[in-house]
């Protein structure tokens, strides 16, 4: 199973180590937690999108059976604002600050009662008198405030305007993508309990370290007095990157009623309370030569934003990196509206890929060049902005292997030229260049006298496989069986970790584990430094390696001894070491690569009825070293399914007059079901990344990127209809 140490690409397809807990219903998610005396909270949300609360009549609610408290801005203590968050910017505004309403669905009260039924009933009795003002709604609303270049991340190279003016071929189109909602299946829940001034919170979060910091700041208590626990999370997809107001309200309620309080958001509240993918529009202009060389890209991306919230929707973040084009200008815009705060939803930036990869497909028809060939003609051999070599890039191999598995050469280029029975058949493809980060991460690894290892970090497993790959890595690096390694995560008391987000955690935590494993071997050698009974006395780190539960000489495996023997002889219960990674900001002379991919889609269209079905998708992915092939494949498959949803089904619709989300249920906001999804082919190519300490690049998000363009391009190939807005629904194909 040696992967990292043997420099192999593919890690063993080990079954998920948390599988038995999950298939028996025994894995504890935050909403499963209970305590003696636990009581239930239910939120009351604003029914207007803008204005103020004139008065609140909570008398009936307070008098209802079982009610312990009705907390509103009128009786809530002032709370501090949350801290500035790395990666994400300012925290969402703290709740119940004043009587202002900034969006429909804003939390205006929290009702606590002995039972869930009592709290639900009482919440409906809270009467609120609003002074309503006209909300600012609609991404193209001229009255909305617009932020320009809000993050200072716009790309400028060469002279895009001049190059466009003189280009042989010019492309100029606009794209629109509906707002989407993350909708993890697990309803977000908070169970909060105060022990004196110490706060314990079981919280649906992707980032316990940051949740702890946020709650400590808001409640003005030392960070060490806050513990955030989330051993299992029912999915996140970005929704759990923030510590949202409902969590703060639950902790506040627990303090005020002096009982453990549980709040489980309803599914409709999941649409308004934990972020969503912003609605976006894009204008994309390309200049090219008749031979298919890109000479200019000008990309304007506009996204929606909450009235006083912060978010980064990186629409055009990869535009400058994707192709070898000398003149590039990107422009970021955000439009402030009276809507719930957008946030990250799996693969921010995938919107820009939809525009670029659709545009290249259009260009391929204009120029009469095969879409795949057009991409190869503009291949970025080095990072086109910095000119530095990529730390790894196997996009060309993605194209080659993907096209081969898909049978791209069977595609006949004419529109509508492929059929199967009554169905029109279309082939489409897209290239993917995506970001991924390594973030500072710490871990503690120990070995006990029974020979077992213990890996502890405040990281999380949101379904991505953190438990499993951390187990595999520790076992490999310490020379143990997988069954001898126990991974403990999801607890903010453990070593600080970055979020499970931004395709960053496996590489960051893996790098820290590698560091810790090395330190742990050093610690063992230190113990043996004066131990003349040990064959390893006086040896250095480089002299030894570990296998079969023992440390031995690299040169002579027969010379060594087991961890257990060492610990027993020295009367130690365990030996621990810390590890960390602090990625070099300058990239060490390389352009740190994210993952790359090529996506190939075949669609079937019933042109009479407008029915669109995906027949198959082939994904060839370069994500550097693959730590566990089985779980990695699942990541790509799962993200592809979400991409199918984004492309064909999902749309969070705001009522144009009221700002209320018109389809905030699972019956009305459609995510893919089993019958929507064909078998999905995934292949990994490339080599271990040079900038990553364990050779891996993130693959949690890349699977969603490129799906939309590949499908839309296939729709065009089948029907001649170029659809530049998502989702692509029946009415657009009639």
């Amino acid at each position: 199973m040696t992967v990292v140490t043997a420099n192999k690409l593919l890690g063993d397809p080990v079954d998920r180590v948390d599988g038995p807990l999950k298939v028996t219903g025994a894995a504890p998610y935050p909403s499963d937690v209970t305590y003696p005396g636990l009581v239930h909270a239910v939120l009351v949300q604003s029914t207007i999108a803008a204005g103020t609360i004139r008065s609140i009549d909570a008398a009936d609610a307070e008098a209802a059976p079982g009610v312990l408290a009705v907390i509103t801005h009128e009786n809530a203590p002032a709370l501090a604002e949350g801290p500035m968050t790395p990666l994400l910017g300012p925290a969402p505004p703290s709740p119940l600050k004043d009587n202002r309403i900034l969006h429909h669905g804003q939390h205006v009260a929290i009702v606590v009662a002995e039972t869930l039924e009592q709290a639900t009933a009482a919440a409906r009795l809270v009467r609120i008198d609003y002074e309503e003002t006209a909300p600012v709604l609609g991404i193209d609303n001229p009255e909305a405030a617009v932020l320009r270049n809000p993050w200072g991340l716009e790309t400028q190279r060469g002279d895009a305007a001049a190059a466009l003016a003189s280009a042989e071929v010019v492309y100029d189109e606009t794209f629109a993508i509906a707002a989407g909602t993350n909708n993890p299946l697990g309803l977000f829940a908070t169970v909060a309990r105060w022990e004196g001034d110490r706060l314990i919170v079981h919280e649906s979060t992707q980032w316990p370290t940051m949740a702890r910091q946020t709650l400590a700041t808001v409640f003005n208590v030392p960070e060490n007095d806050v513990q955030v626990l989330v051993p299992y999370l029912g999915g996140g997809f970005g929704a759990g990157l923030r510590t949202w107001p409902h969590a703060i309200l639950t902790a506040l309620a627990a303090r005020l009623v002096d009982r453990p309080v549980k709040l489980v958001l309803t599914r409709p509240q999941m649409f308004t309370s934990v972020g969503h993918r912003a609605e976006t529009t894009q204008r994309l202009r390309l200049g090219a030569t008749r031979a298919g060389r890109l000479v200019a890209i000008d990309h304007v991306g506009t996204s929606t934003l909450g009235a006083e919230a912060a978010n980064m929707e990186f629409i055009s973040i990869e535009t400058g990196a994707a192709y070898a084009c000398p003149n590039v200008a990107t422009h970021d815009r955000q439009v402030r509206l009276n809507i719930p705060s957008p946030g990250w939803m799996r693969g921010p930036g995938s919107e820009g890929n939809f525009a670029i990869e659709s545009a290249l497909d259009e260009l391929s028809y204009t120029l009469g060049i095969d879409p795949l060939e057009l991409r190869l003609r503009n291949y970025a051999e080095v990072h086109p902005q910095s000119g530095l070599p990529w730390s790894s890039k196997a996009l060309r191999e993605c194209y080659r292997v993907g096209a081969e598995r898909f049978g791209w050469t069977r595609r006949t280029p004419e529109i509508g030229s492929m059929r199967e029975g009554n169905w029109l058949v279309g082939y489409g493809m897209a290239g993917v260049t995506f970001g991924g980060a390594q973030l500072p991460c710490q871990v503690r690894v120990s070995i006990r006298r029974d020979g077992s290892a213990h890996v502890r970090s405040a990281a999380t497993d949101i379904g991505t496989g953190t438990y499993t790959v951390a187990t595999q890595l520790a076992a490999e690096l310490l020379g143990l069986d997988i069954g001898q390694v126990r991974v403990e995560i999801g607890d903010s008391d453990l070593a600080p970790a970055p979020p499970s987000g931004g395709s960053s955690l496996a590489t960051s935590l893996g790098g820290a584990i590698r560091d810790a494993a090395g330190n742990l071997l050093r610690a063992f050698l230190n113990v043996l430094a004066e131990d003349h009974r040990s064959p390893l006395q006086g040896r250095r780190r480089d002299d030894v390696t570990a296998a079969d539960g023992r440390i031995h000489l690299v040169d002579d495996p027969s010379v060594g001894e087991t961890y257990s023997d060492i610990l027993a002889r020295h009367e130690l219960d365990e030996l621990a070491a810390d590890g960390e990674i602090n990625p070099q900001a300058d990239g060490a002379g390389m352009a740190p690569s994210g993952p790359f991919a090529a996506r190939f889609a075949e669609v079937r269209i019933d042109a009479e009825l407008g029915l669109l079905r995906v027949a198959r998708i082939v994904s060839a992915v370069d994500a550097g070293r693959i730590l566990n092939e089985k779980l990695a494949r699942s990541q790509i498959i799962g993200a592809t399914v979400m991409g199918i949803g984004m492309t064909m089904l999902e749309e969070t619709i705001f009522d144009p007059g009221s700002g209320r989300i018109a389809n905030a249920t699972f019956g009305d906001y459609l995510i893919p079901v089993n019958a929507d999804v064909p078998d999905l082919d995934v292949v990994f190519v490339g080599e271990p990344d040079r900038f990553s300490p364990i050779g891996s690049k993130g693959l949690g998000e890349v699977g969603i990127v490129g799906v939309s363009a590949a499908i839309a391009n296939a729709v065009y190939h089948a029907t001649g209809r170029r659809i530049r807005s998502l989702p692509i629904t029946i009415d657009q194909l009639l």
């Binding site: 079954d15 998920r16 948390d18 599988g19 038995p20 807990l21 999950k22 298939v23 028996t24 219903g25 025994a26 894995a27 504890p28 998610y29 909403s31 499963d32 209970t34 039972t115 869930l116 039924e117 009592q118 009933a121 909708n183 993890p184 299946l185 697990g186 309803l187 299992y232 999370l233 029912g234 999915g235 996140g236 997809f237 309803t266 599914r267 949101i462 379904g463 991505t464 496989g465 089985k630 779980l631 494949r633 699942s634 498959i637 799962g638 993200a639 592809t640 399914v641 979400m642 249920t665 699972f666 019956g667 893919p672 079901v673 089993n674 019958a675 999804v677 064909p678 078998d679 999905l680």
Partner: protein, 158 residues
């Protein structure tokens, strides 16, 4: 209004006191400490709360606990016998038929019923008759593979 009632859950009589408004789902989770059954939408639109009622798959979020008095409820906790996983549970692990695991109890209960209903004849049939169970992690192809395998092994062993 409280009711005092008894549910027969996983072959065991479980007396409980609850509100008349309490759903079977909330009774299992909040009263009987059987939290394996999950709440994903609480409106009959996701399948996470699927349990077997008298052997048939139903949604516990749209059933009153009071309605289920005297009927046999089987939850995910009642599937494994003597510490041995049900074949569907084992196949879900082998085929990685889940990621976050939250919809998994509902998927597995639904799959167990589907096999009993004889609806695992083809991948297409499995997909259609598993479509009442949403999986946001998108494990559908692996879920189909797991069910396909159990169906095949089952028919081979007969």
């Amino acid at each position: 209004m409280d009711i005092v009632s008894t549910l027969r859950v996983n072959r065991t009589e479980r007396p409980f006191t609850a509100d008349t408004r309490t759903t079977l789902l909330d009774a299992l989770r909040e009263q009987l400490d059987l939290t394996g059954t999950k709440k994903g939408c609480d409106q009959g639109a996701c399948g996470a709360c699927t349990v077997l009622l008298d052997g048939k798959r139903v949604l516990s979020c749209l059933s009153l606990a009071a309605q289920c008095e005297g009927r046999e409820v089987t939850t995910i906790e009642g599937l494994a016998r003597d510490g041995k996983l049900h074949p569907v549970q084992a196949a879900f692990i082998r085929h990685d038929g889940f990621q976050c695991g939250y919809c998994t109890p509902g998927q597995i209960m639904s799959a167990v019923a589907l096999l009993k209903e004889g609806r695992a004849g083809s991948d297409e049939e499995i997909r259609e008759f598993m479509s009442g169970n949403l999986c946001r992690c998108g494990a559908y192809p692996n879920i189909v593979a797991a069910i396909r395998e159990v169906a095949r092994l089952g028919s081979e062993s007969q």
